[in-house]
Symmetry: D2
Subunit: 304 residues, 4 copies
């Protein structure tokens, strides 16, 4: 199975005026590959896909494919509101050399399971790339049921799932059904705080946003899991969880501004990014919030 | 005040293979203008904005502006996930001759009031068109508070609101605060089943999707309201509400497929549209569901 | 039809140590009856039913029935988590002389329509009193569908609905279906800010918490509606809506503390209640919050 | 720490006419104690607490305390809508010999964190028993934040948490903060399908409803965890997860009817319960649904 192990969703660095900061992008990608990640996922939620116009999406993919240069597979988010636009993005991804695409259910318009399945099938027919379903109800406001996922997996429409559903019970039922049927379906968790539990639940890997900040801890954790060293898996999770507090220590910020804002700020403090600029209409963390992130980095030993 | 009265959100007719059906579009727009509507809103939710790629959006605006030819103002939905893309759409709308733009808060990414306000301000700065906020939490998953709307109205960022929030209590508080402050803010309701109540609540007009099917009833209702004939306002509402059952009589369909699906089917049955084709991944109503819509039209006297 | 017009949900006055303040209760009830209300609803949500133990419920009913002394019908809330306890409360209500009972769907346990219907049927079988369904999803977390309500009305299980669902569209469909079927089903709105819209929607009356503070405005509004004077209906609604700001002007309080807290504070300021004591674990409004309520009362002319 | 390990929420057996089936209750409790559970939790959600009147609550506690006879600690749910009634239930629990009480936040009335904290504090002051917070937003519609829990733990108000929140990320942050502060706070998971992940997250035990059906698997899992045998922990979880499908195989049932209905049906099929009678207004599983549960039991080897 090609898509397994640690596949960070790549945070997109911006210059102060909002352009793609290619130098920082290269530094960050190389840092993660050097740490041993098994793949990279660009244009995910934390890769600011929904803040990107078509030119920016293309720029991110082109640079990612060029920088990665085949060292690991590159997954590309084709997230958009409905099928037609997703197919446009999927074709661009394929043209530019992506190894897989990642799509959510449609959103904004209220659709049922019938339409959601047709959405994935139509995308699948339009390109020659394996597709992952991105299950992220906090953004899409629909949960992909295990039954729906399994049906599409049996048809060959889905190659895997990036699960950011927060529903660990459903995830466990899904992995078990997948194993009993012997389906070729890669099930990756997006919850960086409980990756150890996901591995217990037979996840095939993780897609941790926090791995942009500390890729080593997740790579070591994956290797410990492969070696059957569960105590070490847990110990590394505890370490990552302490670091994840960067998303909780800011004041006056919520959601994306607090979460990806903290990732970008940490990457700036670590010298990986030049700036912590956020995409409009989000503003970068400032002042005491930057210091709060720095303190977590220091207490985690990542920053002196 | 330019944007008041009945401003239907224009349903977009498609040919059997999914192209814009320009002939039906012209027929439908002219039918509504002939009935006396006060404006038209293209590329709204029921105008399938989120199902449209950039070329289709442009095609819809160009044709609408051409067909309307200044007879009534044309409002254009610039709905997209975040600011950058909304500004792109807003500039196209301005270039193509729109009279106003309609924008929701950002969606998919989780943002707070701070970012939502900045989103509207940035769009406002980018174009020279009056902007309506589109408050539709069932799609955007955030409710625009009266306080937020009033703040942006005072700044001149918002010229009005299309309220599809389903929160009639909040709407009443909003109209009252607007009147007390004397703000120039057009407050239109998007709930075609309770327009009479919205007029009681000092709405400046309505944006009824059902007016595509029966524009006359809403125009007469508005005129009755202007004449102070509340019994007639209510009577016409009762009539419209009976017709609105077309969205409830289908089996096996939910959300967009049931709602806009019924509108398109009714327009086909009335000879206004050639087909009831829906945008992918939604399928058109068929068989017994078409017949169910026809029965409502017959009992409403619209169809023989 | 016995249950129509203005039926305030009676706010329950407490002494400083949390006992029922019978003197204030009598004063408030008489004040509302003198103003011309058509009924009274004790032990509703704002009557702190869920904060009351069995002894307090009994005490409230006994005193209400005694004070009212047949001048208007007394409706009694029998709200509790599931059927068995609701039936206990219903029997007490009947024993103590209630004219009708008001029940929600079960809550806490997750039940479907099948169980909700059986719940209402079992209560109906257990007592000889007309029953109103209390549709309040903000508390019960389920919306009673028009179809469910109509089915129970046809069976004679429900005599009416107190609608606090906030779903004015659904309410309109419900009144229309009721009228077309000719069902004997009293449909009362619980939203004091949009009673005029509810009357437009053929509501049979209102259950406005705010009528505890100002019963006159709602009684006059009902009479204006009966007289067909819609402009006056609206004008009185505007007046009531301005007064309703007492629930919005406090700081640091949410939900029940802000809402019923403001009602009790207003009643204290008006000399109807001795204290604004709230049931545990809620604390009474204090200091600047009391002053904020007072200012609204003054600007409404209720307080000098 | 007294409250750790496997503490099943005891399912309450009923006779065909809805009385407490004391013989089955005794058989089931003894079966779980014989299997080695570390405690028992009566009158939890699956113990039908909200379906029970005061007499039934008392009957359940008395019988449980008598049957258990000190062999393991007995935790008693005091779940009710608000503080006053919870305190009544808490006092009864203390009087009848409970070892701990379990309380949710208030529900139905909309209260904020201030009132929720006061609620727990007032209960704590009223009795001399350790108290667990029951975090079950699917029923209570509020999530207890780690910050709120930690504050109450520092004050000695809370001795532990039964976490049925479904929020494994929050749970991990909570256990980590608890460990860093060295608080004496027992954190138990209520999610029987992912207990292994909860143990990875430093849970102190589990409260698995499914342990009524198969107590052995959870006891063995706990012992494997204590022995550091993570592979066995996972293997036993997989086994339990397969058995948990009894709640998914029924048709036409949702929520409580499908979940606790399946537990009762399995216990009847295993000869532990005489009937699978459910509390009103819920009906017992019948016909093909009983057979579907039986098939899962057979394929799990529990039934011949």
């Amino acid at each position: 199975m090609k898509f397994r192990g640690v596949v960070p969703p790549v945070v997109t660095p911006l210059t102060a005026d909002g352009a793609l900061d290619v130098v920082s992008f290269e530094r960050s990608i190389n840092r993660m590959i050097d740490a041993g990640v098994d793949g990279l996922f660009v244009l995910g939620s934390s890769g600011e896909v929904v803040f990107s116009d078509d030119a920016r999406r293309r720029e991110v993919i082109e640079n990612a494919v060029r920088i990665v240069a085949g060292r690991v597979p590159v997954m590309v988010g084709i997230i958009d509101m409905t099928t037609k636009r997703c197919i446009e993005h999927a074709r661009v991804a394929q043209e530019l050399g992506a190894d897989a695409i990642v799509a959510t259910a449609p959103f904004y318009a209220i659709l049922g399971p019938k339409e959601i399945k047709r959405h994935f099938r139509l995308i699948h027919e339009a390109v020659d790339l394996p597709m992952f379903a991105y299950d992220i109800p906090v953004c899409v406001h629909v949960k992909l049921s295990p039954a729906l996922i399994l049906e599409l997996a049996r048809e060959g429409v889905l190659a895997g799932v990036k699960d950011s559903s927060g529903d660990d019970v459903s995830f466990r039922f899904l992995t078990q059904a997948r194993d009993e049927e012997g389906l070729d379906l890669a099930l990756l968790t997006g919850h960086e705080v409980v990756v150890d539990g996901a591995y217990m639940s037979h996840a095939d890997g993780s897609v941790p946003g926090l791995a942009n900040v500390d890729p080593v801890v997740y790579v070591e954790q994956w290797r410990a899991y492969q070696a059957g060293d569960w105590d070490r898996v847990r110990e590394l999770q505890d370490q990552a969880t302490r670091l994840m507090r960067i998303v909780q220590v800011t004041n006056g910020e919520v959601g994306y501004a607090a979460g990806v804002g903290a990732f970008k700020t940490a990457l700036m403090l670590l010298g990986v990014f030049e700036t912590n600029t956020m995409p409009e209409p989000v503003l970068a963390l400032e002042g005491e919030n930057v210091e709060a992130v720095a303190q977590v980095l220091r207490s985690s030993g990542l920053l002196k």
